[in-house]
């Protein structure tokens, strides 16, 4: 839950910087491309999360995975963080 909270907070913050109007209620099933965040906002979100969490799962993938929904997005980070810890 803590990870999801961080991602939600960063999302709000980035939406402000990118001047994007987020939809009111972002749930697990919200399609990212319909959340109000455009491609620039999405790029900023991934960049800011790299600062906050120390990882960019999308740059580390051998075969890139492109999340469609908010839950899939969170799950990509959860898996990347878990994988990273195992390797260390």
């Amino acid at each position: 839950m803590e990870l999801e909270h961080t991602i939600r907070q960063t999302l709000e913050q980035v939406a402000m910087i990118a001047n994007c109007q987020l939809i009111d209620n972002i749930t697990d099933d919200t399609v990212l491309l319909q959340s109000g965040l455009d491609s620039l906002g999405f790029a900023m979100l991934v960049a800011q999360l790299e600062e906050d969490l120390g990882i960019d799962p999308f740059s580390q993938m051998q075969i890139a995975v492109y999340p469609r929904t908010f839950a899939e997005f969170v799950s990509v980070y959860r898996q990347a963080l878990a994988g990273g810890n195992q390797n260390q």
Partner: protein, 427 residues
Amino acid sequence: MSLLQRLQQTNYNTIAISAGADISYSQLIAQALQLRQQYPALQHQAIALSYTDLNTFTCALLAFDGWCSSLYLLPDNDLQLPEQVIRWPQNTTATTVTPTAEPTRWYLATSGTTGTPKWIAHSFTSLSRAAKTSAQSTALRWALCYQPTRFAGLQVLLQSLLSGAVITDCSSSDTQQRINLMQQHTITAISATPSLWRQLLMTGQLSTLPLQQITLGGEIADQPLLDTLAALFPASRLLHIYASTEAGVGFAVADKHAGFPVSWLNQCHSDLFLKIDANQHLWLKPPQLPDTRLASAVDSDGYLDSGDLVAIVQDRVIFLGRASGVINVGGNKVHPEQVEQVLLQHPAVHQAKVYGKTSSVLGQLVIADIVADSSNDSKTLQVLLLQHCQQQLERYQWPARFNIVSNLATNATGKLSRKADVKEAHE
């Protein structure tokens, strides 16, 4: 031979443009001939075309190539034109000119090295050199995802027309709408920037398209994206394109690997010679220079500096970015100097350095390091600078982050050191 003559000669008996109503090749030719009759005064004149819709634009290209002396393709209406150029269709008052038998010159705008766009002349022959015709390419259904007034979009349009394929305008700011259009028109061929491919993948619906031809261009194509697309469409042709608008040439890489083979250096490939200098710049030698004004930029062996930084990694030549430090945000070029000038207009900013940071989503993002006075805390300053940038700059030029720093490194001449972030771009 002009574009119209080429299409009259091939005489395709099929649909050329799929829109609300389908337009066949023979209809296109008839409409173009009608346009020439409608505007006899434009013969031998220099005219400018902007993009409204695919049918009108394509007809105008067919009508006015081989009819007018010059075609300026306007990417936006604010761009300055030479004095004698007539804007079609708004203004069609012609001046008297001496007719010449020269082929039409096509002018395309490039962002130039300073951020001020400049016009580069091309010929239809040089622009159409890359177009391939085969039974397979004739059966394709292309999605137009770029503006056809720019080099990349024009290449897609010419490829589709010259091979007798069908093309549909699928440009939309909304990715879901794009995919819907592509599904509606059963698109089988797409040329797009890596950033746009990533967005199309994010819809989760790309695999519903029966893609046979996948082309990436306008940005550096990375291996994970190439692998993803190759895995999703194992039977389709997968190309990434390198193009230099200035040199008017490019080449395609078909082996599904990032960069291009080292073996292509110092020998002729796709009518082009390639070499790398001591500063890691890629130099190109086109069969002929598109614009005589470039002659002074050519070295004694006939090569032109592409301004692209490359590195040799094992048996590949890998692209690292622009030597000038120009930032490529999802295919949009951002000149750091321009953003710095805007930041320096803000009273709190003493020094500013703008550069690109690698982004797994858009290729690169704009980052600004700022030396500021201490009248605001960093949060407030960031908000103020954002508002300032939002008023003065295009969206893709906005810094994604402001780092407030105590000083900025300058080089021996007192200029901000602007060495391209080679290491980061490479990763």
